[in-house]
Each structure stands twice: as C-alpha cells, then as structure tokens.
C-alpha cells in the first residue's frame, strides 16, 4: 500500500488532487453536519447546479470559471435567504425555482460557444487533472476562513441548528449567522465542483455526515466521525480511481456509498455497540 501511495504521489497533478480533496473533505464534512441536521440536503444540489451559469459565463469570457461560479453561487444563496424571509414558500421550492433558472441560463450562455467543450465536461463530472496551483491556493484560503468561522462559532451554529428560539434567547443574531452560513456553504460547494463535478459534489456534503449520524452518540462524536469518514472516502476514492483508471468524482462518491451501506447494514444487524 505504501508503495502504491508513493507511486501515486510522484505525479504533481495527483499531489494537488489529494491535497485539494483533503481540504474539501474537511470543509464539507463539517458543513454537512449542519446541512443534514437542518434538513438542507437539497441546498448542495441547488448550489452546484446554479453555479453552471457562472461557469458558462466564464467560459464565454475566457476567465477563471471557479471564481465566477463562486460569485453566482453566493448570489443564489443570498436570493434564497431573501425569499425565505419575504415569501411563504418553503426553502426547497425556492431552491427548485432558482437553480433550474440559473442552470437554464448557463445552458443558453453555452449555446453561444461553438464546438466541443472539454472544460464544461470536467466541471459537470469533475476532473482531478484540472486542478491548478491557483485553484489549490483559493481552496486553502477559503478552507482556512470557513474553518475558523465554524470552530469559533461552533456553539452558536449548533444552537441555531438545534432550536432557533433558544438561540435568539441566548442573544445570538440568528439571521446574521444564517446569512454567513449560507454564503460559506455556497463557496464550499463550488470549491468541490472541480474534483467531483456539478452533478456529484453535494454527495460529499451529505454522505460523511449521514454515516456519522448513524453511529454518533454525541455532537462531538458526529463532528469527529464525519471528518474521518470524509477524509477516508476522498483518499480511498482517489487511489482507486487512479489505479483502475476510472472517473475520480464518481469513484469517490461510490466509495462513500459503499461505506454508508456497510454502516446501515451493521447497524441493522446490531453489529455496532448501542
């Protein structure tokens, strides 16, 4: 195994992919806990699909797609936040309307660019070869900022997730924290688009936290387990995809699904301590 890892790490693209994957796993694992406990699982899909409009525009203008995708995803998050408070519609209805609209806009924008679009395919399904050093720096900075926020305000975020009324009575500005959380979630999901693709990125937000929730007997434990599972899923998925020459995003997700199924089965058969 050690030799396999060394063999794999001799390639700079693989070093970048692994590093980016580890950053991403940490970030999405921690955000994912709040996402599944707040029943916001549709958010990940919505954000990723909406970012297509940014990617399409960037491809047309020949600028960095990741940056423009983040901008569009943040606008999407702000619109959902605003409409949740100004209408009687549920979040999933609002997300459904907005992400399909932004995706439709992206498709129209892409129709202006003639010919085969390899960049587009890599954004749709993920491509570890596409990770540049500049992407890695952007990921490192975003991970550091979001991680700082999550750790410093862990108590406030948990109380808001658990019970908004209690959070308000504890003097927490619930609306402000919700707004920041939505924006950071948007940034984190788009960061994952390069590795996992628009279609699959939300799985890394949901699967590790869901596996952790199956077994965790405390909030501390769900945090630790979610990160451990996410890191295992990404590293194992990348290694398998490299050696079997399979699409990395899809292999990462299926690795997660397999672990999830094993844990569900183990719990069902009472193989885990209660």
């Amino acid at each position: 195994m050690n030799n396999l890892m060394l063999d794999l790490l001799q390639f700079p693209f693989m070093q970048r992919a692994l590093l980016a994957g580890l950053f991403l796993a940490l970030l999405l694992a921690l955000l994912g806990i709040f996402v599944i406990l707040r029943k916001m699982s549709f958010w990940g899909d919505g954000l990723a699909h909406a970012s297509l409009a940014g990617i399409a525009l960037a491809l047309l203008l020949a600028i960095n797609p990741l940056f423009l995708a983040i901008v569009i995803a943040v606008i999407f998050a702000l619109l959902v936040y605003y409409l949740e408070r100004k209408t009687t519609l549920s979040s999933d209805a609002i997300i459904g309307v907005l992400f399909t609209s932004l995706m439709a806009l992206g498709i129209i924008l892409l129709s202006f660019k003639a010919g085969y679009q390899p960049d587009l395919i890599s954004y749709l399904f993920g491509n570890i070869l596409a990770i540049k050093n500049s992407d890695l720096y952007l990921m490192a900075v975003c991970t550091a900022v979001i991680l700082y926020f999550l750790l410093k305000y862990r108590k406030q975020l948990t109380l808001i997730t658990f019970d908004k009324e209690s959070a308000y009575l504890a003097g927490i500005n619930v609306n402000l924290f919700d707004l920041i959380f939505y924006i950071f979630l948007a940034v984190a999901v788009v960061l994952g688009v390069k590795i996992l693709g628009i279609v699959l990125v939300s799985a890394l937000l949901i699967i590790p936290a869901s596996i952790a929730k199956l077994v965790a007997k405390s909030f501390r434990l769900i945090n630790i387990l979610s990160v451990i599972f996410a890191e295992i899923i990404v590293s194992l998925g990348l290694v398998i995809s490299y050696y079997f020459n399979l699409p990395s995003g899809a292999v990462i997700i299926l690795t997660g699904t397999l672990i999830f199924l094993v844990m569900v089965l183990a719990k069902h058969l009472k193989l885990m301590p209660e």
Partner: protein, 237 residues
C-alpha cells in the same frame, strides 16, 4: 421596583387579534401566575414579552430596557419543546450550548443535580421521557443566574413527586435567590399556593393583582365561563 412593564399590548397573527390592549406590571421578586382558559393567549403573552410574537401595538419593558437588551437577565422554559429527536446531542452538550462563557462547566452538574437529573447527563437528549426533558429544560433555565424566569406550564409531563420538587425549587429560587418568576398555569390551585400576583387573560385582561383579592367568583366565571365553583380554602404551607 417594576421588572416587567406591559403597556397596551396587542398581538395579532395575520390580522387575527390574539391579545387585545393588555396592560400590567410585575414587581421584582414576585411569583406571577398567568391564568386563563385554553386559547386565551397565555403562551402568546409570554412569547410577546420575550420578543417571540408579533407585537401589533403597545410597549414592553424588562428592567426598563428593551427585550433584546434584557435577554441576558432572563430565561424561558417553553410549554412544548419540539426538536429533532434524532439530533445526536447529549444532555450535557445541550446544556453547554446555553452556558454563557463567564460561567464554569461544573455549573451544568450542579443544576442537573438540583433537578435530580445528574444521571442522564451523558444520555442523548432525544432519548429522555417527557418529564425528564422538562426537568432538563428547567435545569437549563437556571444556568446563567437569571433575574426573571419565564415558565410556560413548566410541570406538564412531570409526575407528582417531581411536581413537589419543582414547587419547592420555585419557592427556594424566589425566596432565597430573589428571582422573579412568571409562570403560565391552567391550575388555580397553583395560583393560590404559590403566586402573589395573578394575571387573568381571555384574549383581553380580565383581572390582575393579588390572587386572594382579585380572583372573585365573578371573575373566575368571566374567565372560564359559568361553571360551578367551590370556594377555595386557602392554606399557606
């Protein structure tokens, strides 16, 4: 000294008036019971004071300040605490979320012990029975040395032994720690036994003041409708 001032309060949900033109004050160190029939607006009144219900008209002050400014000095136990029972959080972790930074963590043990709930400290909150949860919520409400406690039907789901413990605790907090207690109750017995102020509601203010003086047969009939009433024999314990 007035700790809560409610002036001409009207609360409405979607143009449906739930409370109309309510005014009263609560003095420091009182035990004030808010009573009234089902749907009379008791919970809404508490929520409006706490800033959790939409105020159509009127003013509320706590310690002469706005609700938001006074939040650090009050605590609240809701009638029904609804939460995701599958949320993986232990009782201790749940309590710690409401613990202000200046307070030490062993305060959690102390308050749980006061409510005889120390043994559930490491259990998942979602695994507690209704009565156990209520006791944990009461323990949580005592964490940050509040000056006013808002308790909405605090003993619902608690067994008789627990009820006694609860009222002993309420009396102890009020008499020894000088905490003002405002509690919603549907039991007149509670009012006579523990409260020195009563606020009677039925969408509007029916009466308010010292229970023995204001809770006349007429007022009770006005509050609950024409029911046969037995004269209550008041006995201080």
């Amino acid at each position: 000294m007035k700790v809560v001032e409610v002036k001409n309060l009207t609360v409405a949900y979607d143009n449906n008036v739930v409370l109309h033109d309510i005014s009263f004050d609560i003095e420091a160190e009182n035990i004030c019971a808010v009573i009234g029939p089902n749907g009379s607006g008791k919970t809404t009144l508490l929520k409006a004071i706490l800033g959790l219900a939409p105020i159509e008209e009127g003013k509320i002050k706590i310690f002469g300040k706005t609700i938001k400014e006074a939040l650090s000095q009050i605590s609240y136990v809701p009638q029904r605490f609804t939460f995701d029972k599958t949320f993986p959080i232990t009782v201790e972790e749940f309590m710690a979320l409401s613990l202000r930074p200046r307070n030490k963590k062993n305060l959690i043990d102390e308050k749980l012990n006061e409510l005889e709930m120390l043994e559930v400290k490491n259990q998942l909150l979602g695994s507690l029975s209704g009565g156990q949860l209520q006791r944990v919520l009461i323990a949580r409400s005592l964490l940050n040395d509040p000056l006013i406690l808002f308790w909405d039907e605090p003993i619902s789901g608690i067994d008789i032994g627990g009820e006694r413990t609860f009222y002993q605790l309420a009396r102890h907090l009020n008499q020894d720690h000088k905490i003002t207690i405002i509690l919603v109750s549907h039991e007149l017995d509670v009012v006579y036994k523990f409260a020195n102020q009563v606020v009677c509601l039925n969408k509007k203010l029916i009466c308010q003041g010292v229970p023995e003086k204001v809770l006349t047969s007429e007022k009770i009939a006005e509050l609950y409708g024409p029911i046969s009433l037995y004269k209550h024999q008041h006995r201080h314990e």
